[in-house]
Amino acid sequence: MADASRQRQRDVAVLGGAETEIVPEDLRSIPEMVLEAVAGALDDAAVQWEDVDAIVTASVDLFDGLTASSIAVTEVVGAVLKPETRIAADGMAAAIHAVHQIAAGAYGTVLVVAHGKASMAPHWDLTEWAMDPVYLQPLGVDFLTVAGLQANLIADSNRVGRCASLGDGACAVVLSSSVPSGAAVITGTGHDLDAHYPGDRDLSTWSGLQRAAGRAYEQAGVRDPATAFAVAEPSCMFPHEEGLFVEATAIGKNTPLSPSGGLMEGTAPIVSGLTRLLAAARAIEGNPGRRALAHGAWGPAGQGHAVAIVEAT
C-alpha cells in the first residue's frame, strides 16, 4: 500500500449531520425514521436538497426483512433522479465511499445515510445468515458466539460480557469538497475485511483495524497515533472491545474514548459507524488543528473495520 508517489487525498468537509434518538422500538416506518435524520442533517449542514449531488446509503436486506431495502428510503434521502449508491455494510464504509467519490472528482456534495431497526427481528439470530453456510451456520453460530470466543481470549470470561443495547435508529451526514472555514475535514480513511472463519485469524487482536487505521494514518500524515488525537470514537459493542481498539489503533492510553457516550447505552445495526463519524467531527469542531479518530465495525468479532481521521480547520 505504501506508495510515496501517491497524492494526499483531497480533504473532504463534514458539513453536518443528524441522528435519531436510539430507542428499543421506533414505531415509525423506516422512511419516517430516516427522514428525520436526513432533514436534520441538511439543516445542520445548511444545505438544500438540490445542493446534494449524490447519495450513499447503507442498509442490509435481511436485517430489514425486505429485498433491496434501499428502495424504502429512495425518496426520503432525496435520491429521485440522482446518483444513489447503496452499500450493504456499516455506515462508516458508506461514508468512506462518499469520500472516495468526492476525491475522484465525481461529485461535490454527498449525503450519507444509514438505518437499522434491531426491533424488527431477533438480531443475533439473523446474523447466523451472515456466517459460512457450510461450516458455521448449521451449528447455530452467530456474531454473539464469535464475540464470546473473543471475550474469552481477552477477558477470560465464559460468555460475552455486557452488550451494547441494540435498538432502532438512523443517521445522516453531509460531506463536501467545499470546506467552509472552521469545518471538520476528513483527511484520511481506511477500511478492511479480515478472515471470516474465526479459527483462521488471531481473535485476540483486531488486526483488521490495525490495517484500516494504518491506511488512514498514511493518508492523513499521522506519524504518532499515540499523541495525534484529541478524541477517539470507537464502535465497541462489548466492553472487551475497547482494549482491542486501543491496541490496534495505537492511540495513546490517555486519549479520551467515546466522550459522546459511545454505543453501550444504545445503537442500531449498520448505523453505529456513521454516528461515530458525526460525534468525532463535533468533538473537535472549532479547535483548529485538533484531530479525532472515528471507527465503524461490522461482521463477527470485528471482521470488518472502517476508520476516518477528522481534523478541525
Binding site: V134, L136, L139, T145, V146, L149, N158, A195, G199, D200
Partner: protein
Amino acid sequence: MILEGTIRLPFSYAAGGIGTQFLIALRDEQRILGARCESCSTVTCPARPFCSQCHAAVTDLIEVGPAGNVVARTETPGKGVFGLIRLDGANTAILHRLVGPVDQWRRGARVSAVFAEERTAGINDIEGFVIEGDQP
C-alpha cells in the same frame, strides 16, 4: 401499526469440491480433514478450498485430529457452548460445540471429537468435542 410478517424459504448451498470431500469423510469415515497449502504449508481445518493464511487454492487434504486443544470457549445463551479447537496436525482452529459439563471447559484442555450416530455429510456429523477420556 406493527405487522408481523414471516419469510419462510429453504436455501441450499453447495459445499464445493473440497467441502464435499471434507463432509463425506465425516460421514463415511468419521475422519476430520485439513487442507495443506502447497505454497506456505499451513494446514487449515476444517478443510476449505483456499489457504487461510496465503489464500492460494488448496488441493491436498490430510487427516487431522480427532483430538486437540481448546483455544477459546464461550457459552451463547440458548445455543450452547462453543469452542475453537486446534486439532493435532492443524495450524488453524475449528469452531464447534463443546459437549459435557460446562465447568470443565478451560483453555488448553485436551478434547476429542465425538461423531453423531446419524450422519448426513454436514458439519453436525461431528456431535461436538468432549474432554479426552470422557468419550462414551
